[in-house]
Amino acid sequence: MYAQLVETGSQHIRSLDEMAPEERAFQQRVDEGIKIEAKDWMPEGYRKTLIRQISQHAHSEIVGQLPEGNWVTRAPSLKRKSILLAKIQDEAGHGLYLYSAVETLGVSRDEVLADLHSGKAKYSSIFNYPTLSWADMGAIGWLVDGSAIINQIPLCRCSYGPYARAMVRVCKEESFHARQGYDIMLALCNGTPEQKQMAQDALNRWWWPALMMFGPSDAESVNSAQSAAWRIKLFSNDELRQKMVDQSVPQAEFLGLTVPDPDLKFNQETQHYEFGEIDWTEFINVIKGNGPCNRDRLRTRVKAYNDGEWFRDALVAHADKQERRKAQAQLAA
């Protein structure tokens, strides 16, 4: 998802009996659905895992602006351009809500950003794919933001208060993203045969990476079991992916598009779609930094940050000067 393969540092899930009194009290609060707040006692593993998860989530929002930024100057109309700009601005906002949430855990904004820029921290695999046509703006909004909603709605109920509250804000804004994407797809599919083909091509390229976003099956993963016990992961990767497929296939059918999966079929008994094997070697490759755009994304991000340094410095110099003048005026009075 926006946070993939998050390490918890746990080798096995400890029972309440194995825990020290402080940790037992913590786990019982989590089990009762009581929110953990920034100043509350928490196990070191919980804190570190949340830092990894929330910062990765934040980085995904920030880097997620880049594939879409590619189309701002080439949007087909002023209306589409305004909408795309508003969506990208939301992504920046989502990143900022999440950076604020992660800072409550005792890391600074600059440390977290430095980890992104050095390549130490990860962001979602999905943003390492190129946006080759305008239809990709549609496919991303529809499938990628659609998947993000499926992942983020449960997180509104996660155990860590600041993260849960950030997710509530994000979710309120996210359905605009999914709808504007589907609206782009609708317009293309109701257009010329070439436009419809453009939409089909975008679906062909984004479908599998969108399914990979949820991460490999984590039914056997100790990390996922630990995150579930801490209630910072509420559904398995496979459950969330199934939900995404179940809701997206009928939406693709309405558009008159074909999902690029010959094994896709509806199972009347389970009332779910069955789908083909996912190419996990591709996913692992992208995660390791060898996707189509990994280097370009990071380079662009670091360049934007470095290019803005003189401006950030100027704002600080101005603030310092105002502060000094105020102090002098008080002395003179």
Partner: protein, 94 residues
Amino acid sequence: MSKEWPLWEVFIRSQHGLAHKHVGSLHAPDAEMAVNNARDVYTRRNEGISIWVVKAADITASSPDDKSALFEPSNSKVYRHPTFFPMPEEVKNL
């Protein structure tokens, strides 16, 4: 590398005449920029008509460890709630 911008807590009053409510935080070099940034980060959809920003470092918060001692005095005074007093059914408007 310049120094890290201070953290500001942001409070917004919505259009419905309610009190300013904490909505989140952000970094900014000074109060003026904090208000500008708060406008962009927290009011993109008409969420407010007034913004307060306060340096996070200037906020004094109660400690979660003192929770029981701090709030116990009010816990034991159930008679402060109107439902503490049963009223005869025949009596109206109370």
